[in-house]
């Protein structure tokens, strides 16, 4: 067995994980600063320049906090739940191409960890496995609030997965592939070549985004942890690093969802204009920068929406999922299929 590809993969996994970790830490700071600005406050601004070192202070505090294990809880599952949430959220990112094929030290490196034929399905599969972390947490805690949170999470995520998957199928039809690198390659050139525009997938994009918010349990769909009704929902009984892992898992899931939306609909790492005679690291840097900027915008949108919109009621949530998003996604699929069949879109 050749050792070099394996080594390259390990390095890629290591770097991506580290970047994501730093991104998550940064996002917890952004979340609080932006929410503060939206509410005419200042937010954390004392630790380090502009409060940028606040996440590190938080990390230290989380580690030093007491670990509690509620009486009557199922201990193994209680311990395992944050791990499941964390790992599944992290794994889904593996198929996202965050840059083109580059050459480093004379070696050709494809800037995606797992270039899989059914790559988009891989991401959806891990997004759907993420619910087990929440359900296990809810059940293992042996607390009414946590159990209700787990119940809500399972129903909500199964419902919105449908709309999410169906919306994405439109893109698969347009590009004729499920491999993320090929989907991105098909959207090169000007920004009107992106699937959201030239593929007529603007509706699909909006559906995907809305369902993605529900899938990551972010406001306005954060019913599994609705404070006003359920204390903190599925992680009511969690403290210390275990709680922190749930928090990080949520941010990982947000990043994955943003990256998937960007990859599917907005050209992935394509900057949106012909790059002309740029080559080498100037081009690759521009493309990686474009990817980071796009994902960054969607991360900001997550925060923006959270502090702007109020939470849905539970029946409204189910209504929206089954009676609005699901039929719309089906209609989008049928229309896209017809457009592809009659060669309006090049499939």
């Amino acid at each position: 067995m050749e050792i070099e590809p394996l080594l390259i993969n390990f390095v890629k996994i290591f770097i991506v994980t580290q970047v994501l970790m730093v991104g998550v830490a940064f996002m917890t700071w952004v979340e609080r600063r932006v929410s503060a600005i939206i509410q005419f406050r200042l937010g954390p601004n004392r630790v380090g320049p502009m409060g940028l070192l606040q996440p590190i202070a938080d990390g230290i505090k989380f580690i030093l906090k007491e670990e509690t294990l509620p009486a009557g809880s199922h201990k193994t599952l209680f311990m395992l739940a944050p791990v499941i949430a964390f790992v599944t959220a992290l794994c889904a990112f593996a198929v996202v191409p965050f840059g083109p094929v580059v050459e480093i030290f004379g070696r050709t490196v494809n800037l995606v960890i797992l270039d899989l034929d059914g790559g988009m399905l891989f991401a959806l599969a891990f997004a759907s496995l993420g619910v087990y972390g929440i359900v296990c947490a809810g059940w293992a805690s042996r607390s009414k609030y946590a159990l209700m949170g787990g119940l809500r999470a399972s129903a909500q995520m199964v419902s919105y997965e449908l709309a999410l998957g169906l919306a994405a199928v439109g893109v698969f039809l347009v590009n004729g592939t499920l491999r993320p690198t090929e989907i991105v390659a098909a959207q090169a050139g000007w920004f009107w070549n992106w699937n959201a525009f030239s593929g007529f997938q603007l509706l699909g994009f909006i559906l995907f985004l809305v369902a993605g918010y529900a899938e990551t349990n972010r406001l306005p769909f954060d019913l599994p942890e609705a404070e006003t009704e359920l204390v903190a929902g599925y992680h009511t009984e969690y403290s210390s690093m275990k709680f922190s892992m749930f928090m990080m898992a949520e941010y990982f899931a947000m990043m994955t969802m943003s990256s998937l939306a960007v990859t599917l609909y907005l050209g992935g790492f394509q900057p949106g204009f012909p790059t002309g005679d740029l080559s080498g690291w100037a081009l690759w840097g521009l493309q990686i920068g474009a990817f980071v900027a796009k994902v960054g915008f969607f991360m900001f949108l997550f925060v923006w929406v959270r502090w702007t919109l109020p939470r849905f009621r539970y029946d409204q949530l189910m209504d929206l999922g089954w009676k609005r998003l699901f039929p719309l996604a089906l209609a989008n699929l049928v229309v896209t299929a017809l457009l592809v069949a009659f060669d309006v879109i090049k499939g």
Partner: protein
């Protein structure tokens, strides 16, 4: 020298058998359901070993990601009132169920051993597990069977809605 594939197979087989045992023998229905989900993911691992990526991913999305979550949902709803009260089964069940399972296992085993003995299981091409090849197979070779199954699913769905409506 044992190949990586053999190591993977033994590892997955152990996981699958262990989780299946937990499904059958554990008292708490929730743990059983979780073990079943784990078992389904392990089986997806077998598909991956056989190069059938698409099948493996669908197995995880459909069975582990959707169906098992629904089953968990129902069990959690029911066992708010009565924990562990779901495991009562009649005498006929406890005799018939193992017998039928054993019968299926024997039938499958015989088919596999015979098939591999007379070389009926030809080695497939490397890309037989991709989305494209499975899609092509489904919509050409197995078209009628595929459509018949979708009809069956619709019948089941209408039946479920009717049964639920009666109680609403």
């Amino acid at each position: 020298m044992i190949g990586l594939e053999t190591v993977g197979f033994v590892f997955l087989a152990t996981l699958a058998l262990a989780s299946a045992t937990v499904v059958v023998f554990h008292k708490s229905p929730i743990i059983s359901a979780l073990a079943l989900a784990f078992n389904l993911v392990a089986i997806a691992g077998f598909y991956l070993l056989l190069n059938a990526q698409f099948l493996a991913l669908l197995q995880v999305i459909v069975y582990a990601g959707a169906i098992m979550v629904l089953i968990l949902f129902v069990i959690m709803l029911l066992s708010i009132q009565s924990e562990g009260g779901l495991h009562r089964s009649g005498r006929i069940h406890s005799v018939l169920a193992p017998l039928i399972a054993l019968g299926c296992a024997v039938a499958l085993g015989v088919a596999v051993f015979r098939g591999s003995a007379d070389g009926r299981f030809a080695v497939s091409s490397a890309d037989f597990g991709t989305v494209r090849s499975i899609g092509t197979d489904l919509f050409t070779t197995f078209f009628y069977a595929f459509e018949a199954i979708s009809l069956l699913l619709i019948v089941a769905m209408i039946g479920a809605v009717l049964l639920a409506k009666r109680r609403l």
